[in-house]
């Protein structure tokens, strides 16, 4: 299935070589979780800690669906 992924801030270094920007469509196994998506993108577990699916906060165990819009963020640096 295909999902739309945006890598934010320092996660941009994990963008696949085949894509131009940090926002891209990617083919993953059906019923993949966010944790499995991170593995596909070679993102270490502690580097991406905030996950939004269609603008809603989700955990790593969230099962993704065809066409999901996913935003991945590094740990919060702010305040």
């Amino acid at each position: 299935m295909r999902v739309n992924v945006t890598l934010h801030a320092i996660l941009s270094e994990y963008k696949p070589q085949t894509t131009d920007g940090t926002s891209f469509m990617i083919e993953i196994e059906p019923k993949s979780t966010i944790a499995e998506l991170l593995k596909v993108l070679h993102i270490p577990e502690d580097s991406a800690t905030i996950f939004l699916v269609k603008g809603k906060l989700k955990k790593q165990t969230e099962v993704l669906e065809e066409g999901d819009i996913i935003d991945l963020f590094p740990p919060i640096a702010g305040g």
Binding site: L57, F73, P75, I76, G78
Partner: protein, 582 residues
């Protein structure tokens, strides 16, 4: 006690005299330094009910046990007084290079009292205190003041804290600045300094407080530095500073926009961290010994502000001017940052007040030419606030008086007279508890609770267990403020790290529970200060708009808020009116 000098310097500005006083080990062991010591000194020295901008108020500068060591994150000082903005407890902290030099003077705290009858600046060192005439500096901006006093004192390694025109003009949200761009920003501490007619304080010295176990401390620092090499949070700070949060906050619809009427800004990509890095010339800048280097020294490359260099803007400044005032230009926001720093004003409160003015015009409550998105109008109004010209004179009094005058108290967003930071509490519900209960008004820093809510450590929409987790964060960060340790290390420095740090510096061997109890003790002491000033549950409220104008299906309700507040009082050991029982 190790880590301290057991000395405070009391400076009487009315008489232009000073004396050195002893602090007992028992006080330091109980309250540690920083916030604990500052609050203790306020409670002991300030009579309840004084007018904040009168000579009766005290202005207290403190360092902590980590100040002057090479611990990363340890270069911060704190300022304490009664706030002219809220009428309650005031605390504010600033980074940069000043704290270690303050500590090198050989004092743990500096208590300023009375008021000079003419402008002065102080030279405080290990040799004593000199009172210098500052008539020639009055009216000068903060950058020029800092340059001038350091040149006049002409001592190697000296550092200065200064106020700008806003502080002189008693603007109630004036700040104290150092190293041009570092600010003790909130609660109007700069106005208190201005009311005492102190334009600047220059510090220098060569003292070093004794350390109980130097090898233990150095071993800990080596370990921390090693962990920092691969820590993703450290990397994020190093690359983006706090600007990476703009994207997350907009995506999550927690980026307050157009004076709190929207949760995201349609042009956020023009004011986010990537825009900054891709379009301005950005260099990372660090406080002494810090590997985070969160400061972003940014130079504008094009347009009318081409060549302007400012350390900033931080997330909060981007929210206050970009979101709230709908300014879609990073270059303009950097210029407002520069204006506020030079004039000596808090960017969060100033941005909120400009946006409130825009909202007043939009609602037909004010006949003035200022629309959302008008960058020139923002700059003009900032200058008018600092100089108290036209409507700037009213705005300089803060949101409470301005909203009363314009018949807009139901629109104004503040708690206890101080405006919130850039985290929407209708979505991040724990932030409503933070804003309501912080002793200094709608402050985001006492627990930085947006952190566990954004990270999914606790569901932003739930109220269950929220007060308990909030207290855990607030206690830990209260300990950070007693050490005066930068809270950007909150992911790297946990309870066990804090135990190691305090033992290595002071020799105090404390369990996690004992340390947490000290944090809670300090939080309760700040509460007692406010109770003494007449504050209570009636003041621990958030604006009605947060309930009346919901955001999405899970928006904060009155019931949510009441549940969290009562849980918080109970777990803190306070009664149902929020008064500490012991």
């Amino acid at each position: 006690m190790y880590g301290f000098y057991n000395k405070i310097l009391r400076v009487n500005l009315t008489q232009r005299s000073y004396q050195v006083e002893k602090i007992e080990d028992e006080v330091l062991a109980r309250y540690l330094g920083g916030k604990g010591l500052g609050t203790h000194l306020l409670m002991e020295n300030l009579k309840p009910g004084v007018t904040p901008l009168s000579p009766d108020n005290k202005l207290i500068f403190v360092t902590g046990p980590v100040s002057g060591t090479n611990l990363p994150g340890g270069s911060r000082y704190g300022v304490f007084c009664k706030s002219p903005l809220t009428g309650g407890y005031a605390e504010s902290y600033s980074g940069g290079k000043v704290a270690p030099v303050m500590k090198a003077t050989g004092f743990d705290a500096f208590l300023l009292e009375g008021a000079s009858d003419s402008p002065v600046y102080l030279e405080i060192s290990d040799k004593g205190v000199y009172f210098h005439d500052a008539s020639h500096l009055w009216g000068m901006d903060t950058y020029s003041t800092e340059d001038k006093v350091l040149a006049e004192v002409n001592q190697p390694g000296a550092q200065a804290v200064v106020i700008g025109p806003a502080g002189e003009n008693l603007v109630r949200f004036a700040c104290i600045e150092n190293n041009y761009w570092r600010s003790a920003g909130r609660t109007g501490v700069g106005a208190v300094m201005g009311s005492k007619r102190v334009k600047a304080i220059v510090f220098y010295g060569s003292f070093q407080a004794p350390i109980a176990h130097p090898e233990m401390l150095q071993e800990y620092i080596r370990d921390l530095r090693e962990r920092g090499k691969t820590d993703p949070g450290a990397k994020s700070y190093r690359t983006y500073g706090t600007t990476a949060l703009v994207a997350l906050s907009n995506k999550f619809k927690t980026f307050p926009t157009r004076y709190w009427s929207q949760g995201n800004f349609e042009d956020w990509e023009k004011i986010n961290g990537d825009y900054l890095l891709n379009n301005l010339d950005v260099k990372s800048k660090a406080c002494p010994h810090c590997f985070f280097a969160c400061g972003k020294l940014s130079t504008i490359k094009k347009g009318q502000h081409q060549g302007l260099t400012v350390e900033g803007p931080e997330y909060e400044t981007i929210y206050a001017f970009g979101g709230l005032c709908a300014i879609n230009s990073m270059e303009e926001i950097l210029y407002f940052n520069e204006l506020c720093d030079k004039l000596g004003m808090d960017t969060i409160t100033a941005g909120n007040l400009v946006a409130f003015t825009m909202e007043a015009v939009k609602r037909g409550k004010l006949n003035y030419d200022l629309q959302y998105g008008d960058a020139e109008g923002v700059a003009q109004l900032l200058k008018m606030m600092a100089s108290r010209e036209g409507i700037g004179d009213l705005l300089a009094e803060g949101i409470r008086k301005t909203s009363q005058e314009w018949g807009m108290e139901d629109v104004a967003i503040h708690v206890k007279g101080m405006e919130p930071a850039g985290y929407e509490p209708r979505i991040l519900k724990g932030m409503s508890l933070a804003y309501a209960t912080s002793p200094r008004g709608a402050c985001h820093l006492r627990a930085t609770f947006y952190k566990p809510e954004f990270s999914g450590i606790i569901d932003p929409a739930t109220t269950e267990g929220k007060a308990a987790l909030f207290i855990e964060y607030e206690d830990r960060l209260a300990i950070y403020d007693t050490f005066i340790l930068c809270r950007f290390f909150r992911d790297m420095i946990g309870w066990d790290d804090l135990r190691t740090i305090i033992e290595s510096i002071t020799g105090l061997k404390l369990t996690k529970e004992e340390l947490q109890a000290k944090g809670a003790d300090v939080v309760t002491l700040t509460r007692k200060f406010n109770v003494r000033e007449g504050f209570g549950k009636k003041d621990d409220r958030i604006p009605e708009r947060y309930f009346n104008e919901p955001m999405g299906q899970d928006s904060l309700t009155r019931e949510d808020f009441k549940t969290m507040l009562l849980d918080f009082y109970r777990l803190r050991g306070w009664d149902e009116e929020g008064v500490p029982l012991a």
